[in-house]
């Protein structure tokens, strides 16, 4: 269990089954009570931009898939990079992918916004320790 009171998780994945799986996993592991699932990266960006007016942005974990139609994970990161620091500083991106493509993997590690890359299927233990690692530096 991770005790960041208002931690929220944003899921971005075009695969509905994986969205459901990840949502359940977060619930079982009691990582966060607020899970927002988007099956398309554009919708997630829209949601994040609607956050700009909030007085305070809650700490946010973004589980981001790499391969998606229209806007893939890297396109999302590029667009998100232009968002105000107020939002970006609260968002921690974990990429989640079944990719074995080395260029994808090295691109992921090269991106400063990405905290970690986790392989699918997402394991409860790996997800929990990745989240714990992120917030150890902040608590």
């Amino acid at each position: 269990m991770i005790s960041i009171p208002d931690l929220r998780v944003i899921l971005i994945d075009d695969n509905e089954v994986d969205l459901l799986l990840h949502e359940k996993l977060i619930a079982i592991q009691q990582i966060s009570r607020t899970v927002l699932a988007f099956n398309n990266a554009n919708k997630a960006l829209e949601f994040l931009s609607s956050n700009i007016t909030l007085p305070r942005i809650p700490p946010t974990i973004i589980l981001l898939d790499i391969q998606m139609p229209e806007m893939d994970g890297f396109d999302f990161l590029e667009a998100f990079d232009s968002y105000p620091a107020k939002i970006k500083s609260q968002c921690h991106v974990i990429m989640v992918s079944s990719s074995l493509d080395y260029s994808d993997i090295s691109r992921t590690y090269a991106n400063p916004m990405v905290v970690k890359l986790l392989k699918k299927p997402l394991l409860a233990k790996e997800l929990t320790s990745a989240v714990a690692e992120i917030f150890r530096d902040f608590s």
Binding site: L21, Y102, L123
Partner: protein
């Protein structure tokens, strides 16, 4: 048929030459003429010719100068120089620079000129064919790249979802499964995924550029072993690395080779063996590294030894699942990096693979 005719542009400042050329060759070729380099250039803007014949001695710009000028914008047409004098220097220079296919002395011999045109066109057509083939191959290459990318994603992604569902059902205990069906599904999925990964490995080996970097064999071997150790915890691994000098090689391919051989050594153990063993020995010399991987497993039937490196060959005398692609990938990877492999095996006693890989370390630099 008209499209298939050879198109020739002939440039000469003497109009009677142009006319004579037309008279002699118009039945065989599609002929365009110009009486200056300037006019020739104008004409070339509108017409795609196969062969350009130019007179050397012309006012304003000579034949060689003209060819020189157009060689970058129009590299394809074959160039033939006509000259009344033997301006040896000019000709040698032009031919050596590669702009000119041939030169013909004036007055031309009809038969000779005809033959030269035919030869020039043959080269033109061959080059064109080659270019088209290259474009076609590049396209196929590109398609293969995209195919493998989608294989690695589109095929694996639903498999990983299924594994995720199985994991989740164990976490929340929501499925009663007294007969262990979920475990069976998981084993099948992992087998299928293993095969997909092998295909990707094969593909990456065949198309990735070879890259040489420093390799620490002790490191690499332990990394490989840690991947397979859990499959059979009874196995005793013995590692002996003798690396007194630096070794440079292709990390990806060498680990592919080691992974496949170690995986086999772990997989093909005798079920009743009390002391299953896998021995790994490496000896690095300035010019090569020798790797020996041996086990006391089930061994390979001697009549099968010649076939084990063939694609999809599987020895029948074992009940172990295999894709029949692992050793084929090993062989292909060794081919890429200039290595060799030898196998010795006694059925029922064990197998030993000996690999030799050239050391790409340049000790003098």
């Amino acid at each position: 048929m008209k499209e298939n005719r050879i198109r020739i542009l002939y440039i000469d400042d003497e109009v009677h030459n142009l006319n004579a050329f037309k008279a002699s060759f118009r039945r065989s070729y599609e002929i365009y003429t110009a009486n200056s380099a300037q006019e020739g250039k104008q004409l070339l803007k509108g017409i795609d010719v196969h062969i350009i014949i130019a007179d050397q001695k012309m006012p304003v710009s000579t034949g060689v100068e003209f060819f020189n000028e157009i060689k970058d914008t129009l590299p394809d047409p074959m160039r033939i120089l006509l000259t009344g004098y033997t301006d040896v220097e000019d000709i040698i220079d032009a031919i050596n620079k590669g702009h000119i296919f041939s030169y013909i002395k004036k007055p031309w011999d009809e038969h000779e000129l005809h033959k030269t045109i035919q030869n020039a066109y043959e080269i033109y057509a061959t080059r064109k064919q080659l270019k088209e083939k290259i474009i076609e191959l590049e396209k196929i290459n590109d398609e293969l790249n995209r195919f493998i990318y989608s294989t690695s994603h589109d095929l694996r992604s639903p498999l990983m979802s299924v594994l995720g569902i199985i994991n989740l059902s164990r976490l929340d205990n929501s499925v009663t499964d007294p007969n262990g069906y979920l475990n069976m599904i998981e084993v099948c999925i992992q087998k299928l995924d293993g095969f997909i990964q092998k295909i990707i490995e094969y593909y990456r080996n065949s198309r990735l550029d070879v890259e040489y970097e420093k390799i620490n064999f002790d490191h690499l071997l332990h990394e490989c072993i840690s991947q397979f150790k859990h499959q059979n915890t009874a196995i005793e691994f013995q590692v002996a690395v003798d690396q007194p000098v630096d070794f440079k090689g292709d990390t990806f391919r060498i680990s592919v080779i080691l992974n496949n051989l170690i995986s086999n050594a772990v997989k093909y153990q005798k079920p009743d063996e009390v002391h299953p063993k896998v021995n790994l020995a490496v000896k690095v010399e300035p010019h090569k590294a020798t790797l020996v991987i041996s086990d006391n497993g089930i061994g390979i039937l001697s009549e099968h030894l010649n076939n084990i490196f063939k694609m999809f060959f599987r020895s029948k005398n074992n009940n172990k699942p295999g894709s029949g692609i692992g050793l084929y990938i090993v062989k292909e990877a060794l081919n890429k990096i200039g290595g060799t492999i030898n196998v010795e095996s006694k059925y029922g006693e064990g197998t030993q693979f000996e690999i030799s890989i050239p050391n790409r370390n340049d000790f003098d630099s």
